[in-house]
């Protein structure tokens, strides 16, 4: 880890990222195969007037942009939280084991074709999977366990879930269900409705709040677990707080979007030097950064492949994979 001497005041930094996010949000709203007038669409929708603009605005553009924002913020913040908790820049939101379990729940819903019967089947099953995985992880690791045990339990649960996903794909009832599952797993926020957003946002918000309330604990943790404890933090309690917060938010995000990889890894790492590596300050910053990154990625997806063939998760992985390699090489150098 190279120390940098960038002097960026914190609040202006937050403000400028926020402005960037609003800007990208507006661009995302105006991006799509059909040209619509945003203002008319908005007004018609508010006044419940049926028009093409209002329909495209409220049923296609708005849910997509809102999900890009909230899923991105979740992934960014969760990544920063786990990197702080483990004091390791290579950690990501997938480590807690929730993401694969959420994906498994969604895949099961698609397997049985439940998604066509109830619109909420896929996200609900995803969140059910996420919830069960947290219970399982704490049952495996125990309440008083150390961070490593928690993570190992998460990795184990992840592995089991991923094998069950393979099983479901293997025995897919028909090619259509198969392609549905595969496409869902690739990660995308296209063709979602406002209901998907409404069902997931309460969990994401709760998760954000839990994570943000442990910001100071993460700061103290940079002095080691014992010193953090001597500063008045109940280790077991705060550890669970972070893990449950991440699980809630990431579980809800994955349930509506599928796996969108590498955002939680890249964003905190890129922004860390700007806050002098302070884990607590990195949390809100990474949330904004993650939102910006997913919004930008989703705009890119729509621009380079307007027919929605390219999935969001594919593009973040294409950028994220090489970045991860670069990170490992750099970390290895600084540790030598």
């Amino acid at each position: 880890m190279k120390a940098t001497n960038l002097h960026v005041p914190y609040l202006p930094l937050l403000a400028s990222l926020f402005i960037l996010m609003v800007l990208l949000f507006t661009i995302a709203l105006s991006t799509g195969p059909t040209d619509i007038n945003l203002a008319t669409g908005w007004q018609d929708w508010i006044n419940s007037k049926t028009s093409l603009d209002a329909m495209i605005f409220s049923e296609i553009r708005l849910p997509r942009a809102l999900l890009a924002l909230s899923v991105g913020a979740t992934l960014g913040m969760a990544g920063a939280a786990l990197q702080g908790l483990l004091r390791n820049p290579l950690a990501g939101p997938g480590l807690v084991g929730v993401s694969n379990c959420a994906a498994l729940g969604a895949v099961i819903a698609l397997y049985f074709g439940l998604g066509h019967m109830f619109w909420y089947a896929v996200p609900m099953m995803g969140m059910l999977g996420a919830g069960l995985s947290v219970l399982l992880i704490f049952a495996l690791a125990g309440q008083q366990s150390g961070v490593m045990t928690l993570i190992l339990a998460g990795v184990a649960v992840n592995a089991v879930a991923s094998s069950l996903i393979s099983l479901a794909l293997n025995f897919a009832p028909n090619p259509y269900a198969m392609s549905e599952m595969v496409y869902w797993l690739l990660g995308s926020i296209a063709n979602r409705s406002l209901n998907d957003f409404a069902i997931s946002i309460p969990f994401m918000l709760t998760g954000w709040l839990l994570i943000l309330s442990s910001g100071r604990f993460l700061n103290a943790l940079s002095l080691g677990e014992e010193t953090a404890q001597s500063l008045g933090f109940n280790l077991a309690r705060y550890r669970s707080l972070v893990v449950i917060g991440v699980a809630l938010a990431v579980g809800a995000a994955v349930s509506v979007s599928g796996n969108i990889g590498f955002v939680g890894l890249m964003v905190p790492h890129l922004l860390r030097p700007l806050v002098h590596n302070e884990p607590g300050r990195l949390l809100p910053l990474s949330a904004l950064g993650g939102a910006c990154m997913v919004l930008a990625a989703d705009i890119t997806v729509q621009l380079i492949s307007p027919d929605n063939e390219l999935k969001l998760g594919v593009i973040t992985a294409l950028v994220g994979g090489p970045f991860f390699l670069y990170l490992i090489i750099r970390t290895r150098k600084s540790m030598l």
């Binding site: 880890m1 120390a3 940098t4 001497n5 004091r87 309330s213 100071r216 700061n219 103290a220 943790l221 940079s222 002095l223 080691g224 014992e226 010193t227 404890q229 001597s230 500063l231 008045g232 933090f233 109940n234 002098h276 590596n277 302070e278 884990p279």
Partner: protein
């Protein structure tokens, strides 16, 4: 505030680390906890700082068992300095020292004037003001330790528990750190310090506690504890003790063959 540990026992798996150790630190007192490697010094210090639980025995602060204190209250009253001065992220020095104010803040409460004043004073006392904007990873070992000492002083604790606070320091800063601890005791605080430098311990500590194989072998004034017989029995060294104008000097000559 009086810190009293009474017949502390602790074992890790089959290995008994502490076998009924008693130790007390009175108000205004600087106590040196000495003993060979593996004697149980760090474990005893951590138990007294409420970081690990003893198998049996009690620790009382201000005549109340530690278990009855809230985490916050205890954190305000006791300052703990970990061995090796760990810092996992390259934080800015000033922000690191500010972490010492955490016990005084509620979850969403922002640091106020009083907190900033305490941070500035602590940095001044530890002579790290000029490092305020540096990253803690770019500091030398001694500088980093002083920054962490400043972090501890920023908490404004009453009782200080420090694990080898002068191990990585040059003689100037060793003296400086010990003077800071003594000043703290003069102002009505107290301190328990694990150390290996017997000369400095003899010069600065009001009292020494010699720990050996989980027992307190001797507890008393430096002259009473630093005796050839006791040093041979605990450290396994043949030491010469010299009275000088500036205090007792311990000169290890050879290992005792057993």
């Amino acid at each position: 505030m009086k810190l009293v540990a009474d017949s502390i026992k602790l074992h890790y798996e089959d290995n008994a680390v502490l076998k009924g150790a008693d130790l007390n630190v009175d108000t205004g007192e600087l106590v040196g906890l000495i003993g060979p490697n593996g004697a149980g010094k760090t474990s005893l210090l951590k138990i007294m700082a409420n970081l690990i639980k003893a198998d049996s025995g009690t620790v009382q602060l201000d005549e109340r068992p530690l278990a009855q204190w809230s985490h916050k209250q205890l954190a305000k009253s006791m300052g703990y300095l970990a061995q090796g001065a760990p810092a996992h992220w390259p934080l800015k020095v000033e922000r690191l020292v500010e972490l010492g104010r955490l016990p005084h803040l509620e979850t969403w409460q922002r640091a106020g004037k009083k907190d900033h004043a305490a941070v500035q004073l602590a940095m001044k006392q530890a002579e790290v003001e000029h490092l305020a904007d540096r990253s803690v990873m770019n500091l030398s070992g001694g500088e980093r330790l002083r920054v962490l000492i400043a972090r501890m002083f920023a908490t404004e604790p009453v009782v200080i528990l420090a694990d080898e606070p002068i191990a990585a320091l040059d003689p100037y800063h060793q003296l400086h750190t010990m003077e800071l601890l003594l000043d703290h005791c003069k102002r009505g605080g107290s301190g328990l310090v694990v150390m290996h430098d017997l000369n400095i311990a003899a010069r600065f500590c009001h009292r020494l506690v010699l720990l050996h194989e989980g027992h307190v072998l001797c507890d008393g004034k430096p002259q009473e504890v630093l005796q050839p017989k006791l040093l041979a029995a605990s450290y396994g060294i043949d030491a010469k003790l010299i009275e000088t104008d500036s205090g007792l000097m311990v000169m290890p000559k050879a290992r005792v063959s057993t």
